[in-house]
């Protein structure tokens, strides 16, 4: 700098800082590359069997499937057997506040502007069922003048661009190759960012286990060729499940033969649960 006295001091300083910055970022790239290079190498060494063969089980290759779920709200009778089956199948706490799947009731009364919405946590419904461990919709509108009413099953939407996965600070929740969003209960630190991030309220915090939990589309069942528990028990066929890669699967036919919609498309999550027969109030 002493040699180039002709240059104004300010410019010289700027040039120096630019060089320093460049050098620093070069060093960063080198170190970063080294780190990234080492980690997969180590992981591959200590990890599961090599890529040859199917993953995650011997008989199931996740690259061959792309699961999807359909809900036909025009068929739902609100019997809540899906909720019951889900709780049994997945060790969901037995109470009226934590669910992997639940059913909402939308009721328009004559002369009322707003829609009335209730679900299992509503005290009237808890009273009708007798306890928080059983589930039943109270017949609370039997004497009311009902303009319109319908039931809507809800569950995790297994979005193509899941907000919950994006916010997880430790990589404990992720999207699988076959289109399911899963939670690694061993790795979850229980920070609940994902519970906050989900626009659908599909996640809950399991205090017993200290982890977030949500619907997995019964990943342990679908990888064995079974249906998710809620689909299995639905007596009216309001829940449809299948492989979107198979053009003749129930879900492909459901999407093809119906005008389907997803919840909150504006959120940009691109859900994979497709609804038929719901109003704009449902989201």
């Amino acid at each position: 700098m002493k040699k180039e006295d002709s240059k104004p001091t300010l410019e010289a300083r700027r040039a120096f800082l630019a060089k320093l910055g460049g050098a620093a970022s070069c060093a960063g790239v080198v170190v970063g590359a080294a780190t990234l290079g080492v980690v997969p190498a180590i992981a591959a060494k200590t990890g599961a069997p090599p890529d040859a063969g199917s993953f995650p089980t011997k008989d199931y290759d996740w690259t061959k499937h792309q699961w999807g779920f359909g809900v036909d709200a025009t068929k739902c009778i609100g019997c809540l057997r899906c909720v019951e089956a889900c709780k049994n199948e997945n060790e969901v706490p037995r109470n009226a506040h934590q669910f992997r799947t639940w059913v909402e009731r939308y009721v328009h009364l004559e002369g009322e502007e707003a829609v009335r919405i209730d679900s299992q946590q509503d005290p009237v419904n808890i009273q009708a069922s007798g306890s928080e461990k059983e589930f039943r919709f109270a017949n609370r509108y039997k004497d009311a003048k009902v303009d319109k009413a319908f039931f809507v099953p809800k569950l995790c939407n297994h979005c193509a661009h899941p907000a919950c996965v994006q916010v997880c600070p430790v990589g404990a929740t992720y999207k699988t190759e076959d289109g399911v969003v899963l939670i690694d209960h061993d790795y979850c630190i229980g920070c609940r960012y994902c519970v906050q991030a989900c626009p659908y309220g599909a996640r809950y915090f399991n205090e017993e286990k200290g982890v977030s939990d949500k619907c997995t589309w019964c990943y342990h069942r679908i990888t064995k060729g079974l249906q998710p528990a809620c689909v299995e028990v639905c007596p009216v066929g309001a829940r449809i499940f299948g492989d979107q890669k198979d053009k003749q699967s129930p879900i492909s036919l459901f999407i093809r033969n119906n005008r389907v919609q997803v919840l909150r498309p504006e959120s940009g999550n691109a859900p994979n649960v497709f609804y038929v027969g719901i109003d704009k109030e449902v989201n």
């Binding site: 980690v39 997969p40 199948e89 061993d186 528990a229």
Partner: protein, 331 residues
């Protein structure tokens, strides 16, 4: 290199070295195999055992029930909805038979705003006057099989045809023999249903099958009308072997369909008051053994011993077939 720069650089280098060495130990196995998560967690989740076993699991042992259920309009209601999850059954014991059927059935069938019209629904307060659903409906095949048949026959024509039946069932529909049923005053709809069943082969009997096969549909209507119009006054309870008092206690289970004194409320179900006791015994045994098919009767007769059957027969045989109608004409 100035000393302070050397110190700084070596400090950074040392820190980086420690980090790079530590990372493989801190990152769990299989973490970056597919992405920023543990690939092994997918394997762990996929390896969990299903709790719900599906109806196929029940099929091999409960073959008969499974067959009945899978042919019924309840086939979309799987076993585990009512009986609970089957994981661990039968090793860990029996699955429950729901005690409060009314509570269970109304989960789906209570009339409620929001349920689609196609769903069969009942006004609980008016439907059963507090009785359990499985008194009249078999949960494995809930549709009441004996749908009401319309009978519009000609009694006079029936009388001519009935000449062929008189040898066994009596000229006035009062059977001379303990083992053959009285027909006088029986519900016409029931007679039509049973004759049609003999004709189609759904129900079999050495004597009745060929006779019924010779009948036309009009003949069946005429015969039913004729016998339904006869007076059962002459029906004699006869010499019953059982204990009528004990039978009365058991008869509580039959009341819903056959009435307190054997006068059925629904014309599709037979009156059994004053019926021949020997016939009643045979029929109940046939239901119990599965020789006569009826989902409802198969269920209620299964638990009856031979003594129970004799007692029931004695009780109903002793009832007056003309006792005031308690049942309504409509179901």
């Amino acid at each position: 290199m100035p000393k302070h720069i050397f110190r700084l650089v070596s400090l950074i280098a040392g820190f980086l070295a420690v980090t790079i060495i530590a990372i493989p130990f801190l990152v769990p196995d299989s973490f970056y195999r597919f992405g920023h998560y543990r690939a092994n967690s997918v394997i762990e989740i996929a390896a969990q055992e299903p709790v719900l076993q599906t109806a196929n699991y029940c099929k091999d042992c409960h073959t008969e029930r499974h067959a009945q259920w899978s042919a019924s309009n309840h086939k979309s209601v799987t076993c585990e909805i009512c009986h609970g999850t089957a994981l661990g059954h039968p090793q860990k014991g029996k699955l429950p038979i729901p005690k409060d059927a009314a509570r269970l059935c109304t989960l789906c069938h209570e009339a409620m705003p929001g349920r689609p019209r196609t769903q069969p629904q009942i006004q609980v307060a008016q439907h059963s006057s507090g009785q359990q659903c499985n008194v009249c409906h078999n949960p494995h095949s809930p549709k009441i099989a004996a749908a009401l048949v319309k009978v519009a026959g000609n009694a006079a024509a029936g009388k001519r045809k009935a000449a062929d039946c008189a040898a066994c069932h009596g000229e006035a529909g009062i059977s001379p023999n303990d083992t053959w049923p009285n027909l006088a005053g029986q519900h016409a709809a029931y007679l039509v249903r049973i004759l049609a069943a003999y004709k189609s082969g759904d129900q079999k009997d050495v004597a009745m099958t060929p006779l019924a096969q010779a009948l036309g549909d009009a003949d069946i209507q005429n015969l039913a009308t004729f016998y339904a119009g006869l007076n059962c006054k002459g029906a004699a309870g006869g010499k019953a072997a059982g204990d009528a008092a004990a039978g009365k206690v058991l008869a509580k289970n039959c009341v819903a369909c056959h009435g307190e004194t054997g006068i059925g409320s629904n014309p599709a179900w037979p009156n059994i008051a004053g019926q021949q006791p020997g016939y009643l015994v045979n029929v109940l045994k046939a239901f119990k053994a599965g020789l006569r098919k009826d989902p409802m009767m198969a269920g209620v007769s299964r638990g009856l011993s031979d003594t129970d059957i004799a007692n029931l027969a004695a009780y109903y045989a002793a009832q007056n077939c003309q006792s005031p109608k308690q049942g309504k004409a409509k179901p």
